[in-house]
Symmetry: C2
Subunit: 330 residues, 2 copies
């Protein structure tokens, strides 16, 4: 009863759902690609307080994000070092400060899927609740100014359908790619408050290839004409797509299955209606990549403030109850 | 004429083919995910002598491979440092010693596909000829002893079909996953000569997911029974599959399209007919991961020796011709 009172969100909050009865039979669960495991690490102690998970392709970017968020929400001494929690492997990198976890996922659907399987198990084993997970990434824009942040409304596959197809035991299984619409609106609101860069809510197309799969003319192979490309990208734009990237469908599908509130927040590095190659200067591109970090940082700061305000009356009540109990014991 | 005589293989050898007429119109070609480009780097000077490209998922492993190969073929001072040629990005890592290039590709089909588009363009821009490319990776075995090296005969997709499906402009295009059978046999022969670990030639299944896609029971989600899993893996074994990994189909398809001799050489870390989790000790797993490196190192050493023997009469002829020309000029 006491632990319930002390950690009301741990016991009452929304859990991270696994759908796998076989895991109960495992003595230890080895999260191989994180170099972590239930037999070797105390996951509840290491991760039990996590409320926000931010994921992105590049390990460097995810390290810079944790440094940014630590400074932004004043969670820790700004001179702190943030060691890579997955230092035993080079598959993924993971950093943590307070309730914020930052994890890299590499490029493409299979790479992020391996990471998400192990992340979802990690959050479950750590008994985390009320987790929000946001992908902060880069993308090619469709008809939006480079540097625009697109918060995904609906994740579409490369056939422009709102589903993720997964082959399981030789059979194709379809999964929904619905994302949390209220979270998307909250993130849009953050963009409007910040006024530092354009922020829009729109559909995101997720492809399995960067070159031919995104109708680029500059891959090693290209068997279509520039007119074919333009006709296809116009069709993509007409489906409400504001950006193209390579992870959104499986990210949406897996977060939905596990009951985690999720959003995809990507900056556009170029307008694909106008070209294929990333010709902007290194400095400009680095600046663009900070936009999703700034937006999500603002969101996390607001959430933590709101939570602190929500909890303060409860803390007062609990304090009063404890005082009452102490008196009763005397 | 003189440069032709000095580099007979450069002008007469098998080139790396691009199938993209649009590239001619590009002023500079930016290989974005390598942080290299034709406008910023002298690719023929940097890479023109490359004859062997080895690729693998992990950047650490590809660095250790270049150190191993340098020592093995005595190409360079063993105390040399091998800087990451792609130090400007954290998407991929690249190392070179003499005619051997070592490149990481991350995990899964989309990740290796981005790398291969840019690698094939790099080799073409550098005017490389007679290139052999080998993927040295890890995999789950089917009915073979852990530590066995499987040289891929045929790369099969997750429907057990020998093809790679790619969506281009919203249409599914099928590509052949044929690999060079004579190269596979040469690699098997190397394994037989070495006698350090079992080496077999067999089919390789390539999946888009590590957990549900490979019938594991230990992902975040699993909606099938252990009996379903076993029935499926038996079907996979009956299709001649000796191992399961996540890159072989697109690797085979792209190398075939570009006319590059290619092989997939993966060690099996466990027998999937007996389990799912990688429970072997860290030391044992590290030792297994050296098997493809040792096999491919032996192959490269043999090839370089054979080439040196082939070239020696030509060098003598050329020397005689030069002496003759010198006399004529006197």
């Amino acid at each position: 009863m006491e632990s319930k009172e002390e950690e009301p969100n741990v016991s009452c909050g929304r859990p991270v759902c696994l759908h796998n009865p076989h895991l109960d039979a495992l003595k230890d669960d080895i999260l191989y690609h994180f170099s972590l495991g239930t037999g070797t690490h105390n996951l509840p102690a290491m991760f039990g307080d996590v409320k926000f998970v931010c994921v992105g392709g590049s390990p460097w970017r995810m390290k810079s994000f944790i440094e940014y968020i630590a400074a932004e929400v004043s969670l820790q001494d700004p001179n702190s070092d943030y060691p890579n929690i997955c230092a035993g492997t080079d598959r993924y990198a993971m950093y943590k400060v307070g309730p914020v976890l930052s994890v890299s996922h590499g490029m493409g659907v299979p790479s992020i899927a391996i990471m998400l399987h192990e992340l979802i198990k990690l959050l479950h084993h750590a008994r985390c609740t009320d987790v929000t997970i946001m992908r902060i990434g880069t993308s090619g824009g469709i008809g939006v100014e480079p540097g625009t942040v697109v918060v995904t409304k609906q994740a579409l596959n490369d056939m422009l359908l709102p589903k993720f197809e997964q082959v399981i035991l030789g059979q194709t299984v379809e999964r929904s790619t619905d994302l949390d619409q209220s979270l998307a609106q909250e993130l849009l609101q953050c963009g409007n408050e910040l006024k530092q860069f354009p922020t829009v809510v729109g559909n995101t197309m997720c492809t399995m290839d960067f070159y031919e799969g995104q109708a680029r003319l500059d891959g090693a192979f290209c068997y279509y004409t520039e007119a074919d490309k333009q006709a296809y990208l116009n069709k993509v734009r007409d489906a409400g797509v504001c950006n193209i990237e390579m992870e959104a469908t499986v990210f949406a599908a897996m977060c939905k299955l596990s009951g985690i509130r999720a959003a995809v927040v990507c900056v556009t590095l170029l307008d694909r209606l106008k070209g294929d190659q990333l010709t902007s200067s290194h400095e400009v591109l680095v600046g663009f990549q900070e936009h999703p970090q700034i937006l999500v940082g603002h969101f996390i700061k607001k959430q933590l403030k709101a939570k602190a305000a929500d909890l303060s009356p409860l803390i007062n009540i609990r304090g009063a109850m404890r005082r009452k109990e102490s008196h009763a014991k005397l």
